[in-house]
Assembly symmetry: C3
Homo-oligomer: 354 residues x 3
């Protein structure tokens, strides 16, 4: 399977990369993540070119990594700066390095052509995140724990343009029976997909009712934004019935941006980073904890379903798959990602893409 | 490897299939077992034809199964009866179903051509089972727990036409040294095999002496009936020495029918259902428990040996296998099953076999 | 991968082979080890030629093994001496046997052509072992526990001609920073490799300082003797600075022979037997225990590194490996072993090699 390589991917929560060396495979490439003495993140291939020992089993020495077998030492660029027992450093003694930066509380890595890595291409569609920092945040922030899912990343992303699954997978957390038969609307804006669903005049989702405390029914919205290949922002919330559907009207209700950063580990496994931003109880750490706990439960429900599908795809037993109206988001998403990957592979290696 | 497909196989104990959905692979086909609102068993392919989620991860809704991902709902025949979010049910939305019936306290399934499934072909050579039901049973019944064995089913069935292994495998339960050198007699009745051995005037097996309480030696019989491909009934027991070998004489002794229902899960693993019927202490639940416990121990001995052989067959290391006189049952059994499978495969698909 | 087959390999500690049957794979051959009634070790292929049950699951009967399935019985030469249920023993009923002897406290086996097995070819370069036996031993002996390592044996042997790794792998036990940049000297004596390093006027290794109690710096030596394919004796120790490098001068210091007997289990796993001989505190069991404990820690460090390399070699990610000056021992060792294997394979099967 091909991946889109010239792209920034979330690789770790910022706090996972620090004094200790972090081994993590990104797009099938074993990488070691660390920080130099100034705190800047760095990523190298997790192999010593001498005997192949993963560098993550070595030691951080200032701005460099020392191999745990014979002490070969590499700087953040992958250049060998010391070969114990000899003066001359062999020219072959270098390891590939990968551009890495801090962004949105995570370390991001560019697994493709380093010449094309540009911080301006980092995901920039989440202005609320900056507003969640500081003493008087306008948005409350909670982050989930690092989550590993044993399925292809596209099973996760298609799940994130799919409001229809909520009723059946998230029975105890996010879903309500009323939504089951309400059709969704799918539109495309450049490469970005938007899938929306309004559920009018019906009971609030359990997770929101706790904060909205509405006396009766609500209007509920779900806006699933999918930024290919694998970032999703789900804008969802509720307000009293009858208000308009404008951004301002949604801001006046209880609103959550549920943000999903998915990074292929291998063809059959995915790193999953997620966080929520909310427009209520912004500074209340207990609310942050509660929301995290709710989503831990909800995503465990997704994980069980998607890992079972990943396993079943190895033995499909079915020759013709059924297509449903609710697949429109998934179909467009897979088509868009396939085109992006085909475009990338058609480019001359190292060619300009800006 | 080929299996005989047009055949009833024991798939589950009756009590395993009920309110919850039971996932079980039969002859390499993942199936989900459930009961409709009238309690009738049903079996479907354990795959939703939409995204492949195993239906066993969904929910029972009346007489139907609702998929746990998007709520597609299938009735007992595999027909889709509901597709959430749309009026029209896509014609491709159906899953294969397999005939299933209750029999002998188990749910049986027919993995082959449904048109050929006939309840009259169910195993009917165990009249004692019906006599074990009710208030005043003529036969006592005990059932073993569901047992999973990681070996091909034919390693198990050939073990069940093989009195010779008892001395060496079941040293603590069923075997006695006296039997080691007594030859067995193998006869064939249609497809059915019968292997017999009489051990005259020798100590009783530990498991029977506890109930027979003979003062001295006994005559012991073992009649191994094998109904291909994979049902075995071992009629064994003891009486005082010198009696004749007739069925009536055996009934006058301590007699057990040990019944084995073997169902291929995959080429290398088998579902094992077993029960015993006895002509003594018929209503004594403690005796049922004791017999079950003894056979749990004995079959654990078989399981250890047969799983080791299954593993060794992946690396035989031996080019020429030794053939022994005691192999006659095994040789005939494998030849019979091979012929039955060849016959089935030679038939036009869906052709009449009655 | 090819192994050198016509060679004695350590297969087990003497005490591992006795009343119970020991199953152990040697050079990809599953073997069962046992002792006859006179205590002599024997090794057979761990397969009954009837149904392939590993003979190690059977029982020791006098000088023979009885199969745990049907009682076929084999003597130490692999000849079948009993076939239950029949008079005639089938000619094919025999299993390969492998020459096995006791030596240096271990059972050794010859996996190659039995006609070439000669006790005179047993490893004889360790006269200190004999001097460690008896009431007044000149050398103290401690033996490690049986150790299993999931890597190819050549990763272990090249580690044993490699003084350079000590500083980086054994930071808490054997290594000191002073040694890192001191070059090693590699010489070859027939097939035997010798890699030496002297570290002059520097602090003693922690493990030796405890016994040497030197007031200041010491001269440290490491003589790595490697007897291909896979036996290593590391002569190491320390004495006060300025003494000559002769054998007698080393005997006057604190001296340990650390002996390593490596036997391929499979291409990717190795049996590891190790012991130390010391010229101090010869009869002190507490010192033997302490040395064993120290080396258990040190070899766990090697094991972690080498198993990570074995795993990484399945996905190297690096096309050109770096070569360093410190590789000279490894390069010569691999070349020597490759030549020995090529020579063996060029010989007519069963031809004379003496």
């Amino acid at each position: 399977m091909a991946f889109l390589r010239n792209c920034w991917y979330a690789a770790a929560w910022a706090g996972e990369v620090g004094d200790r060396l972090l081994a993590r495979t990104i797009l099938d490439v074993p990488m070691v993540f660390f920080r130099d003495s100034a705190g800047r993140p760095a990523a190298l291939l997790d192999r010593c070119p001498h005997r192949l020992l993963p560098l993550s089993m070595g030691r951080l020495r200032g701005d460099s990594i020392e191999c745990g077998y014979h002490g070969l030492t590499f700087d953040c660029s992958g250049r060998c700066v010391r070969a114990p027992g000899q003066e001359r450093i062999p020219p072959a003694a270098r390891v590939p390095s990968y551009p890495a930066v801090d962004h949105l509380g995570m370390v991001w890595v560019w697994p493709g052509d380093p010449a094309l890595a540009d911080p301006a291409k980092l995901f920039d569609r989440l202005p609320q995140w900056a507003l969640s920092q500081g003493e008087e945040p306008a948005w409350g922030l909670n982050c989930g724990p690092y989550t590993h899912v044993k399925c292809n990343y596209q099973l996760l992303t298609e799940n994130l343009v799919d409001p229809a699954h909520v009723t059946y997978v998230h029975t105890t957390t996010l879903g309500t029976p009323a939504m089951a038969d309400i059709p969704v609307e799918t539109t495309q804006h450049g490469d970005t997909l938007l899938v929306t669903r309004w559920t009018l005049d019906s009971p609030a989702a359990p997770i929101l009712q706790r904060f909205g405390k509405w006396p009766g029914n609500v209007d509920r919205w779900q806006y699933y934004w999918l930024y290919p290949p694998s970032i999703a922002v789900v804008d969802f919330g509720s307000h009293v019935p009858g208000m308009d559907h404008s951004d301002a009207a949604r801001d006046a209700g209880i609103r959550i941006y549920s943000c999903h950063f998915l990074t292929p580990e291998t063809e059959g496994s995915t790193h999953y980073f997620w966080l929520q931003l909310r427009n209520f109880a912004q500074r209340d750490a207990a609310v942050s904890r509660e929301i995290t706990e709710q989503f831990v439960l909800a995503f465990a429900e997704d994980k069980a379903v998607l890992e079972a599908i990943e396993a079943a795809e190895a033995r499909p037993m079915i020759t013709e798959r059924v297509k449903l109206a609710l697949d429109s988001g998934s179909v467009r998403l897979r088509r868009t990602v396939a085109r992006m990957i085909a475009d990338e592979q058609a480019q001359p290696r190292g060619g300009a893409t800006a």
